[in-house]
Amino acid sequence: MEFKELTEIWKQSEMHQDEAIKVNHQLIKEVGLNKIKTNLRAIQWSSIFEIVLEILFSGFLINFMENQRGQPAFSIPAALILGLIAFNVLFEVYRLALFYSIKTDCPVLKAQKKLSRLKKLEIFDTYSLLVIIPVFALPFLIVLAKALLNWDLYELGTGWMIQTIIGSFVVAAILVVIIRKHPNKKLRKAIQFIEELDEE
C-alpha cells in the first residue's frame, strides 16, 4: 500500500466529523473551568511538605551538634544525617524546579524529556530510600536516643552496632534486588515511560 493511499484513507475518516463533534458549552461553563485542579499539582505538596520537615529537622540536628560539641561519638552520626538531609533538600528542590519548568505548550520532545527526567528521579528516589533507611537507621537511633531520652547507646557496647550495620547493608541489598525484580505499579509505569521515550 502506497503512502498516498494511506493519506487518502486518513482523510476519508474525517469527512463530516466536524459536524459530528459537539462541544458541550453549557456543561463546561457549569463545571467552572477555573475551579478545576490538574493532577500535575499532586506532586508539589508532598515535596514542599518534605522540604519544610527536613529544614526543621536540620535545625534540630544543628542544635544537637552544638550541644554535643567535643563528643564525636554523637556529633559525627548527627553530621552524617545532616549531610543526607541537605542532599535530600537539594534533590527535592531540583525536582520541584524541574516539575515547574514542564509546560504543556512546550515542544513535545522537550516536555517529554523533562517528564522522563522527572520519572528517573522518582525511580532514584525509591531505590535510594531502600538503602538510606537501613544504612542510616543506626545513626538515627544514636542521635534520637541521646537527644530525646539522653540515653547513650554506646554504653550497650559496640558489638550490636557492627552487627546492625552489616545487617542493614544486607537488608538494603536484598530490598534493592527484590524491587528491581518486582517493581511496584508506580515504579513499573515510570520505568516503562522512560523506556518508551529513551530512544528519543
Partner: protein, 169 residues
C-alpha cells in the same frame, strides 16, 4: 461583559475551531471510549489553563497540537488523572460528544499499526497524515527539520512493513 466571561467565550469559540484536532490526537493515543473521554477532558483542562498565556509567536494550531500531544503522551501513565476523573466529575464528563465515524478495514488497520509505534512517532505520523509540512512538524515536536524527515522515512518503512506482513499473513 467582564474579562473572565469574555475569556470563557473566546475559549469556547476556540474549542469549536479545534475540536477535530483534539479528537484526532486523543484517538491516536487512546482507544477505550471511556478513557478517551477522560483524555479529551484532560486536554481541554490543560488548554484552558494555558489559554491566557498563549504565545502569539506560534500559530494557534501549533500551540494546540503541542498541548494535546503532551497531555496524551503523559496521560496514559497517570493513574491519578483517571482516578480523579472517575471520582470527581465522571457524571459530567461528556464535554465533547461524538460518535466515532465508522471505519473501513484499511483505516482500522492503519490505526492498529500506528498504535504499534512509539509515542513520539505516533504524533509525527499523525501530523504527516494531516499534511503538515516538515517545518510545522519540527516546530510542534521540537525536532530539527532534517530529523523529522529522517523519522518520517523510518516510520513509513515501519508501516509499510506491517502492511506487507499483514498482506502475506
Amino acid at each position: 461583559m467582564n474579562k473572565a466571561k469574555e475569556q470563557e467565550k473566546e475559549f469556547l469559540a476556540f474549542l469549536e475551531n479545534y475540536k477535530k484536532l483534539i479528537t484526532k490526537v486523543s484517538g491516536i493515543y487512546c482507544h477505550v471510549p471511556e478513557e478517551r473521554k477522560d483524555l479529551i477532558q484532560e486536554i481541554i483542562i490543560q488548554l484552558w489553563k494555558s489559554f491566557p498565556k498563549y504565545d502569539h509567536k506560534y500559530p494557534l494550531s501549533t500551540w494546540t497540537y503541542r498541548i494535546a500531544i503532551n497531555v496524551s503522551i503523559s496521560f496514559l501513565r497517570k493513574n491519578t488523572t483517571q482516578k480523579r476523573a472517575k471520582e470527581g466529575y465522571r457524571a459530567e464528563t461528556q464535554w465533547m460528544e461524538f460518535d466515532p465515524p465508522p471505519r473501513d478495514e484499511r483505516l482500522d488497520m492503519l490505526y492498529r499499526f500506528i498504535d504499534l509505534l512509539k509515542p513520539i512517532d505516533k504524533a509525527i505520523i499523525m501530523l504527516y497524515l494531516e499534511e503538515h509540512s516538515n517545518k510545522e512538524i519540527a516546530e510542534i515536536m521540537g525536532l530539527s527539520v532534517s530529523n523529522v524527515s529522517t523519522r518520517k522515512l523510518r516510520i513509513k518503512d515501519t508501516l509499510k512493513h506491517h502492511f506487507e506482513i499483514n498482506k502475506k499473513g
